[in-house]
């Protein structure tokens, strides 16, 4: 389905990706994990054709995303849902209109049918009652769930979730994990989940890629990764503070820093 080959991408002088290749299998849930700031969101934007790689190719259904004309790219994106990390709801429309927006723009459906569709999507994320609210009246977790309903609005074949679980209470978190899994099974979607929640993600992912410092540092099924030989992978998967993955941004020792008063 999605085939990434020798991808390199830099921001300024910093290489965010250095010659990485990965495959995303159709009708499966692929998770992408890695420390904050490694470029997970950037990877999704590259896949969606919003950023141009320095070199390398990304093929979706055998089409090279970065060589499509705008019309073809937009055609492809209609089959692609994306949940933005920030939600990115349109702030001058109500929750209802936000979800109806892509349907109204891309189909000729009568308003009564749009209503049914919108209410079903909202019901799936538990926010049917919040449809009259404006985005500024939503909490962070609610906004993300509305954004998820919007990503599903056009019934895409492929969906990319950027941090779907952040800011959710344990109950909605459980519901969302279930929802992603159910959607994948019943509608045969291809899903990409970017997440820090190792536990939750590992329960639904079919395959996991771990990325760090521009490279793929581990890949495999959740089980394989939990038992991985690499210390780095084990530390990340088990969330241990000690190990090769530094928690701190590079800095002199704490004692030196504290004593070093000007």
């Amino acid at each position: 389905m999605i085939c990434i080959r020798n991808l390199t991408f830099s921001r300024g002088d910093r290489k965010i990706f250095d010659d990485i290749s990965m495959d995303i299998q159709p009708h499966k849930i692929t998770a992408i994990m890695g420390p904050s700031g490694t470029g997970k969101t950037t990877l999704l934007k590259l896949i969606a054709g919003q950023l141009q790689p320095d070199s390398g190719t990304i093929l979706i259904n055998q089409q090279n995303v970065h060589q499509l004309s705008q019309a073809k790219l937009y055609q492809l994106r209609k089959q692609m849902g994306m949940l933005f990390q920030s939600g990115a709801l349109l702030t001058d429309m109500s929750v209802y209109d936000n979800i109806a927006f892509p349907i109204r723009e891309h189909t000729q459906l009568p308003e009564s049918m749009i209503r049914t569709l919108v209410l079903m999507k909202l019901n799936a994320v538990g926010l049917r009652g919040a449809r009259e609210l404006m985005p500024s009246e939503l909490s962070g977790g609610m906004a993300r769930r509305v954004a998820m309903a919007r990503a599903l609005a056009l019934d895409p074949e492929m969906i990319m979730y950027d941090e779907p679980f952040t800011g959710q209470d344990p109950i909605s978190l459980g519901v969302l994990v279930k929802l992603i899994q159910t959607l994948n099974q019943t509608l045969h979607l291809t899903s990409i989940v970017v997440s820090h929640d190792v536990q939750e993600t590992a329960t639904i992912a079919d395959y996991i890629y771990l990325i760090s410092e521009g490279k793929i540092t581990g890949q495999g099924t959740p089980k394989e990764l939990y038992n991985a030989y690499s210390e780095w992978v084990r530390q990340f998967m088990h969330g241990k503070a000690d190990g090769p993955v530094p928690f701190h941004y590079p800095a002199p020792g704490l004692a030196d820093d504290l004593l070093d008063s000007p």
């Binding site: 934007k45 969606a48 919003q50 705008q70 937009y74 055609q75 994106r77 209609k78 692609m80 994306m82 933005f84 920030s86 990115a88 709801l89 349109l90 702030t91 927006f101 892509p102 723009e105 891309h106 919007r150 056009l154």
Partner: protein
């Protein structure tokens, strides 16, 4: 050495920006068909951009006209030529002050608001999200705003001139007792439709183009942070003002310089 380096750097940046903004303009213009096929988007922006600037323009036009009336009477009376007040007021308004002042006010009121709105939509990834929904924000968001500005400003400039003429009448005729008959009749006979009115309209159309383009481009090109948006808003007002005054000079030279 440093000086030449930074000079070269900023000229390169300027040329790059000019290139980006030309592409941007091209993309907007190719969205004309889309805007015409979605009149509801255009009407909403006509209201936002045009109607909300209405009162500012009306009040400014009234006061500018009244000041012209007062100043005109003081100057003309030294030559005993008060009867030419109508011509003086109308000509200055229609040729210069109407297009220029309303464009400057429009840049301050509507232009800065457009920049901030687009900049904020960029910063909150709303434009990105639209692209992901296969809806081109240049067509859906930017083009209707551009054409709304393009339509509104010439109308507002005409309004400014019309109300200004009334203001001149109030100050000159009602306040300072210039003869009402000569105010209107001299104006009618001396103001030329082509020479004055059409030229004024051409000016305001070009200013409308400039201000809408600058305002929308600065928003679209803004650094997506609060400081970046505030800088972009300032640039909109400053660059629009420069562009308006520069083009006013060029157009005036072209239109009236030859004779």
């Amino acid at each position: 050495m440093k000086f030449f380096q930074s000079l070269g750097h900023s000229s390169l940046q300027f040329i790059a920006k000019l290139g980006r903004s030309s592409l941007f303009l091209w993309a907007i213009l190719s969205g004309l068909g889309y805007t015409l096929s979605r009149p509801s988007l255009l009407i909403k922006q006509l209201y936002n951009i045009g109607a909300l600037t209405f009162w500012l323009i009306a009040i400014a036009g009234l006061f500018v006209g009244m000041v012209l009336g007062l100043q005109g009477v003081y100057t003309l009376s030294t030559f005993g030529a008060e009867s030419a007040l109508g011509v003086m007021v109308a000509a200055s308004l229609v040729r210069e002050l109407g297009p220029v002042v309303s464009a400057l006010l429009f840049a301050g009121r509507a232009g800065s608001a457009l920049t901030a709105e687009i900049g904020l939509m960029k910063a909150t990834e709303q434009l990105s999200a639209m692209e992901m929904m296969a809806i081109d924000p240049l067509k859906y968001i930017i083009a209707p705003r551009f054409f709304a500005g393009f339509i509104s400003l010439p109308l507002l400039a005409a309004l400014f001139s019309a109300i200004g003429v009334m203001g001149g009448y109030l100050a000159g005729v009602e306040l300072l007792n210039v003869d009402a008959g000569s105010y209107w009749s001299q104006m009618q006979s001396a103001i030329d439709f082509h020479e004055d009115i059409i030229n004024g309209i051409i000016k305001s159309i070009i200013f409308a183009w400039l201000v809408s383009w600058v305002a929308l481009f600065e928003g679209y090109d803004a650094t997506p942070t609060s400081a970046g948006i505030s800088r972009a808003t300032t640039r909109t007002v400053v660059n629009s003002a420069f562009a308006i005054l520069l083009f006013d000079f060029l157009l005036t030279a072209l239109m009236y310089g030859a004779n």
